[in-house]
Amino acid sequence: MASATTGATRDAFGEKLAELGAAEPRLVVLDADLGGSTRTTAFMKKFPERRFELGIAEQNMIGAAAGLALGGKIPVATSFACFLTGRLETIRVCVAYNRTNVKLVGTHAGIGIGDDGPSQMALEDVAAMRALPGMTVLQPADRAETRQAVEWMVRHDGPVYLRLTRQNVPEIHEPGYRFEFGKLDPLWPKDPEAEPDLPSLAFAPPNGKPRRQAAILATGGVVSNALEAAKDLQSRGFLARVFNVHTLHPIDAEGVVRAARASQRLVTVEDHNLAGGLGSAVAEALAAAGQATPLVRLGLSDFAESGTTEELYAKYGLSASHIVEAALRNLA
């Protein structure tokens, strides 16, 4: 790990937004009575005239954001991911069909939010957003990445959905990390040059026993679990490569296929429903390329419950031990 410190990606979003406000006068922010939670408070304090409180009325907030974009502004509309993307039909017409330059920022994604329970846990938002033509879907894995993703989002001309965590997550990137839109982010092993990038079944390890490769593709709050799993696998003599998928849509199909060709097994991990999220996007990329690498998808298939993030990830199959098990299935 680059750093033992932890923090929520929503915090980094709020800080970066307030910072960008000075250089970008077109930036405006809309909230639906959750600005404290989505961390737009810092922007509001610096630029009160450019921050609009719309009340608990997300549809109108999204429509108003579209209007502001048509007026030449760069509107950032925030709420919990579920309440924001739950207004799918309004997003479909006001944002996607009108192709307005609206930035939708959904915090409190997935079961990782913990105690608040299923009504607050967005688990279908990525599927819904990536079904909309012209929409870009981003999910950064730590604060350093979030800051760069926010900057990219504000500069990008077009609709973006940014998915953020409520819970604290470890910093997984080294200082100097550069966010590269649309590309898989290879996280592990740290020195990819030391690893043969070949479609071979095995390569000779020091102890003479064959080690086989799995590629783990993870996104958002569970990327650190994937890293933990990779280290566990290494201690057992298996090499697992870990890719952080910050750009969920459009997914880096070439990168996915390249990772698959170099692996015996792919595992996707997401705090999102299995239907339509990262695992689906990876499966689509593999199928389109005729790439038959076995794929295990870890994600949700039902509503969850209240608990701590750790308890919920353990029960619903997203913890490091589940990832290890998925990577080893049929490989050991």
């Binding site: 405006v28 005239e49 450019r50 609009f52 719309l54 009340g55 009325a57 549809q59 109108n60 999204i62 429509g63 108003a64 954001a65 579209a66 209007g67 502001l68 974009a69 048509l70 007026g71 030449g72 502004k73 509107p75 039909e89 309004t90 479909r92 017409v93 006001c94 069909y97 009108n98 192709r99």
Partner: protein, 282 residues
């Protein structure tokens, strides 16, 4: 922007124009073989005054002027009326009107700014246009820009919750640059508005939400002219003009008939309707 200035056509000449527009709308929808004549005919009198008495500051020679006024047709299915006015105002060729709803046409069945940039916002999913108009008005206010925003909804679409969200928000932001026009034509797809989900008393409701409200006969060009002039003087809060209208206005067999919400007339029906309009029965 002086309205009703020396160059603006007189209301008498506009009366003749609205008859020609009604004929045009019916012929467009007849040629298309599908469409929504009822709501187009109820809206056309207002649109004619808005565009031709220069209450809407737009210029066919400079259609993308950043300081132009914006008109959002939230009841997107009535876009034949808007296409008709835009064409006769000089924004697009009149001959193009007969391409309505045809494959490859810029004149889509519902407004589409990606194909026709004159359109300020794509609409057609009812209840969304007022929010977009509100956002545009916020943008203009933030820039201290002079342009105004007008949004026309139907009556049926006010049943959408999003309308009431926008209705709450516009007075909060004191959007004196926003005018909401309700084409209260009393009929929606499956029946009378008062039976499907009654809105009455709409004027009282909007007044209670702190809108400046006027309710007028939406087919009386003088009343429309006066209402738009009065609304322009109000600058401290959003303004609503409720048009009491008749769906299918001008064609006896279409008036207040649910069946003519979304049905194209065939040639015989269109001929009959046109003869009635051109005969000046009304």
């Amino acid at each position: 922007m002086p309205a009703a200035a020396t160059e603006a056509p007189t209301l008498d000449s506009l009366r003749r124009l609205t008859r020609a527009f009604r004929v045009e709308i019916l012929r467009m929808i007849e040629a298309a073989g599908s469409g929504h004549p009822g709501g187009s005919l109820s809206a056309i009198d207002f649109l004619t005054v808005l565009y031709f008495r220069d209450y809407l500051n737009v210029d066919p020679k400079n259609p993308s002027d950043p300081n132009r006024d914006r008109f959002i047709l939230s009841k997107g299915h009535c876009v034949p009326a808007l296409y008709c006015v835009l064409a006769h105002k000089g924004f697009l060729p009149v001959e193009e009107l007969r391409t309505l709803r045809k494959f490859g046409s810029r004149l889509q069945g519902h407004p589409d700014r990606r194909r026709l940039p004159l359109i300020e916002a794509n609409t057609g999913s009812l209840g969304q246009g007022l929010s977009i108009a509100l956002g545009l008005a916020l943008s203009a206010k933030l820039d201290r820009a002079p342009w105004q925003v007008f949004c026309m909804t139907g009556d049926g679409e006010i049943q959408e919750g999003q309308i009431w969200e926008a209705a709450m928000a516009a007075p909060k932001f004191k959007l004196g640059n926003l005018t909401w026009i309700v084409d209260y034509n009393q009929v929606q797809q499956e029946g009378l508005t008062k039976d499907q989900m009654d809105l009455a008393p709409l004027k009282d409701k909007l007044a209670a939400f702190n809108w400046h409200t006027q309710e007028i006969d939406g087919h009386d060009l003088d009343a429309i002219d006066r209402a738009l002039a009065a609304a322009r003087k109000v600058t401290d809060r959003p303004k609503a003009i409720i048009l009491r209208t008749i769906k299918g206005k001008g064609v006896s067999f279409m008036e207040l008939q649910t069946a003519w919400h979304g049905k194209a007339p065939n040639k015989e029906q269109a001929d009959k309707a046109v003869a009635e309009i051109e005969g000046g029965r009304r």
